[in-house]
């Protein structure tokens, strides 16, 4: 479904991603791991059109994403969350989700101003859809909070809301940037289930950046390890987790030998 070949991303003299090849197949859950600064978030930014890669190609279902602006990449079927949670804090919880339907709704300025029937119908559908998506998280994000501003949510709920918002764009491919960061063990475990359910119930293909190895082990079909922008290992969890280069990348030179 997603195919990166030979992607390089440079910032001046700094190479954040170096000649990376990556394929994600339909229905797969792939984890990207690597120490801080390895280039994982940069990878997401390249896929979603925030950065244009210095060289190489990014394709979604055979169509190139390179050079598209982030909105168009989203319309092509890629949605994401952000490592540092970027919600529309002063809008209500439900509006956060509703706003993300922009790409596949049509009502224009005049239709809304005149409250034409088709605009009203669309609005109703959008609201229903947002409610449905928020209900995906069960009691965590239920009713009475929907009309409160997003800033009133707890950290974990902000992360959940961000996922709901990404889902509202009707993606085929979902990119999750450290969805379990800052969550307690219980919530982390829930996230693992959420990722599973996203594939099972929504039929999504998922690329996930995660530091928590329990989550990575729990969800991934395949794991890709990056270090200094270079892919150092790829395969199932056990293979990657015990790969000497990966251990070295995390624990420093020599650690692999000692083990």
């Amino acid at each position: 479904m997603l195919k990166l070949s030979n992607v390089t991303m440079e910032f001046g003299a700094l190479r954040s991603i170096s000649e990376l090849d990556l394929t994600v197949n339909e229905g797969e859950i792939v984890s990207v791991i690597g120490p801080n600064g390895a280039g994982k978030t940069t990878l997401f930014n390249v896929i979603t059109g925030i950065y244009t890669p210095t060289s190489g190609s990014v394709e979604l279902e055979g169509k190139s994403l390179v050079g598209l602006d982030p909105a168009r990449v989203n319309h092509a079927g890629v949605a994401r969350t952000f490592q540092n949670v970027r919600l529309f804090l002063n809008m209500s919880v439900i509006e956060n989700v509703m706003s993300a339907t922009y790409g596949h709704t049509r009502a224009g300025l005049f239709a809304s101003a005149l409250a034409l029937p088709k605009s009203r119908k669309e609005e109703k559908a959008v609201r229903a859809k947002a409610e449905e998506l928020l209900s995906f998280f069960g009691s965590r994000l239920t009713g009475y909070r929907w009309d409160q501003p997003a800033y009133s949510l707890s950290y974990a709920n902000r992360r959940r809301l961000e996922i709901a918002r990404a889902l509202a764009t009707e993606p085929k491919l979902l990119l999750l940037d450290e969805p379990a960061a800052g969550m307690n063990p219980k919530e982390t475990q829930e996230i693992t289930q959420v990722v599973e359910r996203l594939r099972a119930e929504k039929g999504l293909t998922i690329l996930i950046i995660e530091h928590d190895m329990h989550v990575v082990e729990g969800v991934s079909d395949r794991v890709v390890a990056l270090d200094h922008g270079v892919k150092i290992a790829e395969g199932n969890f056990d293979h990657v987790a015990t790969h000497p280069d990966v251990v070295e990348a995390y624990l420093g030179r020599g650690a692999a030998d000692r083990k």
């Binding site: 978030t41 997401f44 930014n45 925030i50 950065y51 952000f82 970027r86």
Partner: protein, 305 residues
Amino acid sequence: MSYLGQQLVNGLTLGGVYALIALGYTLVYGVLQILNFAHGDVYMVGAFIGFFVMVGLGGPLKPSVPVAVMILIMFLVAMLGTGLLGIVIERFAYRPLRNSTRIAPLISALGVSILLQNAALLLFSANIRSYDTSSYISSTLGFSFADITIDGVRLFVLVLSIALMFGLARWVNGTQVGRAMRAIAYDRDAAVMMGIDVDKVIRWTFFVSAALAGAAGVMNGLLLRGVSNGMGLVPGLKGFTAAVVGGIGSIPGAMLGGLLLGVVESLAQGYLSTNFSDTITFALLIVVMLLKPNGLLGKRAIVKA
């Protein structure tokens, strides 16, 4: 040929003044990432201070001290006065808003600008004052080569503005505060962690930036332009344009932008139309922003996601 040369010289003089204003924008932008809207009005205050110092020293016709000393005092007092004004503005209009929304300091600065303009109107009335430079600096002073004449005032302004720019460069690179300022501009959080006293550096930055504007104001007066409460708006815009054209945040960029703008404006006035020079400057700004959004010498802005 001589006409062109003359226009170029005039343009460089004007450009020196713009560059000084532009430097003020760039310095403040560098440390705080805010646009100091009130900067043009600080420049206006500088011009007024220079004027009243001149009057206080006996006026243009019979100054009580030698002319050179008078001009020196005018510059010193104006720069000191506007420098302090800059500190006060920062303290009351910007510091309380440091953790506020992005739009808040802009609005607050707009308020300061309105306050300064109308305070000046109340205090000094709407009369347009003149430095009357020609009565104490002879217009025959200066020199000429080929067919180009550079009169004394222009030469003085040009030399002084270049000297001030050099002084600034020394300050930024050679003093502890200057280096701290660059550190903050580069990475504020890291600078704080290194124990740099951010408040102090910001105070200094505002002092220097406003003092440069004050000097520019006095120069404007010497170049025989009228001094009035609304005089800051257009030069403020031009100064900002210069800063943006050069690349905001970049000190050499502001200098280059200022000189370039002065020359372009002077040529436009000389060859195209005197009435539409601001329009032409504006067009230049738009073109540069569309072609090189980060300015001629600016660094690429970093998008963080």
